[in-house]
Symmetry: C2
């Protein structure tokens, strides 16, 4: 490995001078700088990150915890973070949940793993965290952002769309198409953002259809298999419905598979509305209408806010995340 001392020796200059050329700080005579640059080139010198990290106390790495990579929701987020970090010339260290479900224990273990590695900051994503956990983590690592979950006590570090509004929008959409007999598949009730969207959904229905209205609802775990099973349970219970709202697209895709197997045609017999508008929705059969949650913008904002905090940058952070409806083929007017 070639060191900056080798460079200095070859260029015939002092250690400090070589360092000044490499880091671009301090003044060096143009002719001298050129000599050093040629030496760098000749030796293919690359400064050691480890040495810089040791001296500066900054590793230039951001840790990212993601519960699991099933489905098309999380991968997209990871890619967005990577692009932003590489643009800022920082690196991404990733830890995934090791179990297939998003548990509190997994998140804390993953976060611990990342912190031990001296990341300059951490991006956290999970539905399983409690407010206390968030507080504890923030104390150990002030450079923390939480995506897609909200804790009042650490609100400034949370980035998410207004899921209550998203749930309302889902209800409005189905109502506008004339649907009155509705059922739903909820995500885990331990997930704050899931609770938000289900509350918005039901609030809106109660406002329009009357406070006494009951919406049959099955809980699942945000997975395709879970959605498949939940749809089966709703049918087995004998509910008659013209529209089904699913708290994410994964579960909606599972529900579509179930409905198809039971001989129900979507959208003719049942309209299905998803949530998140993930890439999977576009080529579902039939193409899945979905509440569009601007997760890319949410992720971008969180990542940039973290970069600003960690490195004193001044990247633009947009905290406005409007939800909307992406209308495709799976929702039509009630007959």
């Amino acid at each position: 490995m070639t060191t900056i001392r080798d460079v200095a020796k070859l260029a015939g200059v002092g250690l400090g001078t070589a360092s000044r050329v490499v880091s671009g700080k301090g003044s060096v005579a143009p002719a001298t700088a050129e000599k050093v640059r040629r030496a760098i080139e000749a030796l293919d010198f690359r400064p050691s990150h480890a040495a810089r990290a040791l001296l500066s106390g900054s590793t230039q790495m951001i840790g990212v915890y993601i519960p699991l990579l099933k489905g098309s929701f999380y991968p997209h987020i990871l890619q967005t973070i990577d692009r932003e970090l590489r643009t800022a010339n920082r690196h991404m260290v990733v830890a995934f949940g090791r179990e297939d479900t998003d548990t509190r224990h997994e998140v804390l273990e993953g976060a611990r793993f990342l912190m031990e590695r001296d990341c300059d900051g951490i991006v956290l994503m999970s539905n399983a965290l409690t407010a206390d956990d968030a507080q504890t983590l923030l104390r150990r690592q002030p450079n923390l952002v939480i995506l897609n979950s909200s804790f009042e006590s650490v609100a400034a570090r949370c980035f998410l769309a207004d899921h209550v509004q998203g749930g309302r929008l889902a209800a409005q959409t189905l109502l506008r198409h004339g649907h009155r007999r509705l059922v739903a598949i909820s995500g885990p009730l331990t997930s704050p953002d899931n609770v938000d969207r289900m509350q918005g959904f039901i609030q809106e229905l109660r406002t329009s259809l009357g406070a006494q209205v009951v919406i049959p609802c099955e809980e699942a775990d945000f997975s395709t298999a879970g959605g498949y099973a939940a749809a089966g349970r709703l049918l087995d219970q004998g509910h008659r419905f013209t529209a089904l709202f699913c708290a994410n697209d994964e579960m909606a895709v599972g529900a579509l598979a179930c409905l198809a197997e039971r001989g129900l045609r979507v959208p003719r017999d049942v309209s299905v509305l998803g949530y998140d508008d993930t890439p999977a929705a576009e080529f579902a059969v039939p193409r899945l209408s979905s509440v569009h949650m601007p997760i890319r913008e949410v992720t971008l904002a969180g990542t940039r806010a973290l970069l600003n905090q960690c490195y004193g940058l001044d990247l633009f952070v947009d905290r406005h995340f409007p939800v909307s409806i992406t209308a495709r083929a799976s929702v039509i007017d009630a007959t």
Copy 2:
């Protein structure tokens, strides 16, 4: 930040003694060790990775390059690598392709980014690499494994299933169900592993149906949207066929969407066979039969081989990756 000097001071021992307790190397009197451990506990001391990296020349980090995270193929791989690395107490630094297509330039740029970060080793995945590129990279970083691509010149560092055999299996399966009028959607012809599976597929058909047999085939880019478009082109060309083979599940899902929109029923009118057996296949409508490629085992073997090489470990590496058929609902007997 508390350093090992703080620990030594509090424990009332020398620097070296404290270090020996931390690293577990060398001999320390039990009573002394206990004092040091208490000091570590009291100060919440954690050794600096940066200092260790500087001294040892090893960062304990493995870099992973993945082209893109669309679809359910790559995410699964990442998660498998993460689990294995964390079990070995190493970290994963990830770089993704920044464009939505897997290009040569992107891979090289990503690999460069990872190498500059002083990763101890690199896991590479790409369909766009050439044999020369692989050679060049291997010269700069001997600790390199390549997943799911094969280059004879660096064969020992390549891990992949036998895709020729996979293609053969696909053909055998469709033939066994009585299909004779077949069409196919191929991945990019620049991708070596795609070429393998298409060659196996066509070889097998020629063997069974005669050397002169022609299989209409459209090329796409392994994406769902590409599969959708390719299926459309096959139909527009007026081919009549009872079975469609797609070189990966993503494209098969796109093709299913296209066939459904054109009023063709799968599997009654057309059988569709995918490749890779990704999670998406399980809940496609209808459930997608697929050539099962043991990507988890391939990934595990590559990751372990890299760990063995980087750190002198002796993890078991199984280089036997049998392909098989996962039969679901999308392939039935020809009528």
